[in-house]
């Protein structure tokens, strides 16, 4: 069974699973880049990598519940949709990467994914597909909220350590 023989809902869900898996790899790579620089940044990127894999597993369960076994998928997704990346090409030159920036990097990726799925949901003609896009949008919304909480928590910690 090829990916093309699947229905649009299956394809979309599979792609979302692929994206989470790829992003796990991207976060691992970002963590490796900062090894020996900011350990808090490395830890945060590793944590995000784990979370992405968990998200992938959750989506996998959804797929299995609806359609049975997940077909083998080769390669990475071709779309960008949700891909965390450094904001600054010279972050290592200036050794300027902070935990806050790492969180913002993740947040931006999740926000992009949320916006993408919401936009697709609004434009989808197929009701099943529309429903799935909505679900994925909500799924990303929870990730956005988690990261926003972490960011707020980090700001509080930074403020309290500055006031000491």
């Amino acid at each position: 069974m090829t990916q093309h023989s699947l229905n649009p809902v299956q394809q979309t869900l599979l792609r979302a699973i692929q994206i989470e898996a790829r992003n796990g790899g991207l976060y691992e790579s970002l963590a490796a880049i900062f090894a020996g620089y900011e350990e808090s940044v490395v830890a945060m990127f590793r944590e995000m990598a784990d979370e992405e894999r968990q998200h992938g597993a959750q989506l996998g369960k959804r797929y299995q519940a609806r359609f049975g076994a997940i077909p083998p998928v080769s390669g990475d997704p071709t779309d960008v949709i949700e891909a965390p990346d450094l904001d600054d090409a010279e972050a290592l030159v200036f050794d300027s990467m902070t935990l806050e920036q790492a969180l913002k990097c993740g947040l931006r990726a999740e926000e992009m994914a949320r916006a993408f799925y919401n936009r697709e949901a609004a434009g989808a003609a197929d009701p099943d597909l529309q429903l799935l896009y909505r679900e994925l949008g909500e799924f990303e919304e929870t990730h956005v909220q988690v990261l926003q909480e972490k960011l707020a928590d980090n700001k509080k910690k930074a403020a309290s350590s500055n006031s000491r």
């Binding site: 880049i33 090409a89 030159v93 200036f94």
Partner: protein, 487 residues
């Protein structure tokens, strides 16, 4: 089904950058043989090797040749020929291409890599390569170009000694080689080049104007790339020695054009672009870079006074090793430092305060405007240096012909040109070349300023008001240089 091929919306900053991008010409796409050339593992070594041989030879001539500066090849070739070629051709046309072939970090690289050509896969921290040495992190507080700023200013203060005494040049370059090698054993990658080398500091600033850039061809490819081999390295190429991530690179400053990323990119996504002069990279990121721009502009002014002006007193003050006028040297040194570090930056700051006030710019902070508008000092600074260098080569260029035949000043005559007389080449034309060069600098500074202003002030009236004070400052600086060149 709805496909997801549509890319995500870029953030506003990226949109602005994309909108303000000028034309670019993909050199590697047009001439693939050039890409094949830079992908050769031996490419950089083959460029460095001849320079290394010349450099070794110059160190010998500087150590054992005549102490008379204009009869020793190290002075004539380094401080006249190399300097003019570097500032007037290599930087504006080739960005940091000098760094590609610079022999100074060669031994450091070798100690760190234990290889001159081959690449070692491995797991040194942050990379997919194996490096030797302690691999420590360079101190965070020094991760900027302040050391380079002070280093260059210090050397410039003693430049009269440097450009007249061969042994002083030998000592300087020997220290730089040893320091680069020592730092490579302790710190990661090219810490010496990134943070200490005084030459690298101004190359970084002025490479912003260059007509070439090494960039990723498709930023989305980089976004999806899991290996990030450009910065982490691979079995095909070393981790970026300059610690730059190509996926978001948008200015030349810290790309040393080693082309390792061209070799290591698994997506074949790095390419070389030709672009217009001085209008592409306009982003100044930190105060260290603003002060670098100020130091360079002031030094171009100071050198023009000392070496080109009719006021011999300044030359005597600077040339303390011959005049022994320490009081005069003190005035010169302190004056130069004050001008570069305090007085000119204060004038610039004042112009920015006025710009903010004139434009009634509440939405833009003083810091943003101070950093953003400082690009205006870059093209004018570079062209002022080029204008200063014109008489250097036209008046003293004939020394090159004579020292080739007698590099050590020992009375040899290898090519029959040892007795070639000192003949200034059309010296009467010097001001006629300097003036247009300087005015070109002013033009590009104003263009750059306008480009930055568009980002801050979409409203043309507000933009225009904000441009008045810095434009007045630029005109004032240009008039001062014109007075020096043709007064």
């Amino acid at each position: 089904m709805a496909t997801a091929t549509q890319p995500v919306e870029p953030v506003p900053q990226e949109k602005a950058a994309a909108a303000s991008k000028s034309w670019r010409f993909d050199v590697f796409a047009r001439w693939p043989w050039l890409k094949r050339l830079v992908r050769m593992r031996s490419f950089q070594f083959l460029l460095i090797l001849p320079n290394l041989i010349f450099f070794y030879f110059f160190l010998l001539t500087g150590s054992f040749g005549t102490p008379v500066g204009n009869r020793n090849i190290i002075i004539v070739f380094v401080w006249i020929l190399w300097w003019v070629v570097l500032i007037a051709a290599l930087v504006p046309l080739g960005s940091r291409i000098w760094c590609t072939m610079c022999p100074l970090p060669f031994f450091g690289d070798w100690l760190q890599r234990r290889a001159t050509i081959l690449v070692r896969p491995g797991k040194s921290p942050g990379t997919e390569n194996r490096f030797f040495g302690l691999q420590k992190r360079w101190p965070k507080k020094l991760s900027n170009i302040w050391l380079q700023n002070f280093g260059f200013l210090f050397l410039a203060t003693f430049s009269a000694l440097l450009v007249t005494r061969p042994i002083v040049t030998v000592i300087l370059f020997s220290i730089m080689i040893l320091l680069a090698a020592g730092m490579a054993l302790v710190y990661r990658l090219r810490a010496f080049c990134n943070y200490v080398c005084p030459i690298s500091g101004f190359l970084s600033l002025y490479s912003m104007t260059s007509t070439i850039e090494l960039r990723s061809a498709d930023k989305d490819e980089c976004l999806k790339c899991k290996s990030k081999s450009c910065i982490r390295g691979s079995d095909k190429g070393w981790a970026c020695p300059w610690n730059v991530y190509m996926g978001k690179l948008d200015r030349n400053n810290y790309c040393g054009l080693c082309f390792e990323c061209v070799k290591s990119c698994p997506n074949d996504n790095i390419t070389l672009y030709l672009r217009p002069f001085a209008t592409s990279d306009v982003l100044i990121k930190g105060y260290d870079e603003v002060w670098k721009a100020s130091i360079m502009l002031v030094l171009a002014f100071s050198y023009s006074i000392v070496l080109l002006s009719p006021w011999g007193r300044f030359k005597d003050w600077a040339n303390v090793s011959e005049t022994h006028n320490w009081a005069g040297f003190g005035v010169y040194a302190v004056g130069q430092m004050l001008l570069a570090l305090v007085i000119f930056p204060s004038l610039y700051y004042l112009s920015i305060r006025l710009a903010k006030r004139f434009a009634k710019a509440d939405s833009v902070s003083l810091k943003e405007l101070f950093l953003g508008y400082s690009y205006m000092l870059v093209p004018l600074g570079l062209l002022a240096w080029i204008a200063f260098s014109i008489p250097l080569i036209m008046v003293n260029g004939s020394y090159i012909i004579s020292v080739i035949s007698d590099p050590l000043g020992w009375g040899m005559d290898l090519f029959g040109t040892a007795e070639f007389p000192w003949i200034p080449f059309m010296p009467e034309w010097v001001p006629f070349l300097q003036v247009p060069v300087l005015l070109i600098g002013l033009y590009y500074s104003l263009r750059g300023l306008h480009k930055v202003a568009r980002k801050f002030f979409p409203d043309p009236a507000q933009r225009l008001q904000s441009l008045v004070p810095p434009t007045v400052l630029l005109l004032g600086v240009t008039l001062v240089f014109l007075r020096l060149f043709i007064g």
